[in-house]
Amino acid sequence: MLELKDIFGGYGKMTILNGTSFKIDRGTITTVIGPNGAGKSTVFKAIFGLLRIRSGQILLDGTNVTSNTPARMLSHGVSYVPQGRNLFPMLSVRHNLEIGGISSPDQAKIRRRIDAVMDQFPILREKADSQAITLSGGQQKQLEIARALLLEPRLILIDEPSIGLSPQMINETFRTLIRLRDEGVTILMVEQNAKAALAMSDYGLVLEQGRARMYDKADKLLHDPRVGQLFLGAHLEEEA
């Protein structure tokens, strides 16, 4: 579904992505893991058009979407939930959702979609007129995910969804992602909580120094001693 071919890019003169290449399948959850500075969040920015890459190609279902703007990526059915708090704190829950669909030319459909995602996340209906800042951390994350669903994306890029959440809320968020996967949405996720993330994913991708070093079924990676070695700070041996 999504294929990255030999991507090079970074910030200013600093190169973060050093020939990143990988492919993910439709209707799966793939977790990207790797040490700090491996380029996990940067690869998401490159896919979503927030970082102009120097070379390489990004294909979405065979269509070249390299260096598309975020607005174009939304129209291609890609949503991005960045790391941290991503809400408009002083706007109501309903208006936060509304802005998630602002790029759609069919606003009547967006109004129906807001109703539909509120059915999926009942707490958001309950708090529809409350300011987003009044929601708990878990509820805020649910609102971010709900907002990303408004345009009925084929692919969701979600960066560190568990950050700042209680264990109970992390489980709740992961269950939501599994439900979305079961509905056919493809999910590419960056997660520091690698064990928990791989346990609920279909595939795992290990990034190191801006290159995809391992890609396999998540349960295999979970039990691979080299993954543990990587997270202890060691570098992977160059594969023959």
Binding site: L50, P70, P82, N86, F88, P89, L91, H95, S103
Partner: protein, 292 residues
Amino acid sequence: MTEFIQLLISGLATGSIYALAAIGFTLLWQASQTINFAQGEFVMLPAFFVLAGMHFLGLGFGPAILLALVASLLILGLTFKRVIIDPLLPHGVLPVVIATIALGILMKESVKQFYSAEAQPFPALFSERTITVLGAVVSVQDIAVLLISLSAVGLLQFFLTGTKTGRCMQATAQNPAVAEILGVNVKRMILYTFLINAALALLASVLISPIYLAKFNNGETLGLIAFIAAIVGGFNQIRGAIAGGLLIGVIDNLAAAYVSAQYRSAIPLILLIIIILIRPQGLLGKAEGRTV
């Protein structure tokens, strides 16, 4: 008591004009982290656009105001953003502060040089009649100024909260990176903010000039008081700017009558110091965090 009511209404009228200018500070700060130290001159200049339209182009007062609106939107909105703010803002807030101080001086001296150094009479928008309210004699002009300013603020609030474009502007002010990710045209929203500020400056100019006459240095006091009003009310809240403007207008009037006319201009500064000491985020403002 009747004198108090009279002073209160006239203070609210002047304060509502301060509020219009103070809202400009707040809007630009929220949308683009810009502090415009030429804001006072932004209120001074449109009156001269109107006068130039009337005297050099022979326009009537109404068409001259329309001309001034177009000129304000183009010069104080679009050109200000494109020529000064856009190139300087990536280098931080300080270059913008210095540039806007310089712009204020340029605008002031240009009006002095090319129009006149003398105060110019400005056509009154309303009758100079007075009416009696609760026994107090109040000018129709004061009441009209108050009503028009508050209506403009009400319309602005309705636009920002009641329309999709307004909410996109709020979203841009609250979290521009995420607004862009969701497909909001962030650049356009910021431009709208600058255009609204220019329109508010024109309104304030047309309302205040019949009272204080149009003069090249009107912006000095007005800009300072509006800045103080924005800080006193809360720099990051429109309702704070409104409250700050009205409060300063009323306190200024009451202080002149009951304390000392000589020290009236010190009163807003004293208020500013007190507010900064006890509530730095302003009366209705919210504390802002900064990550370094």
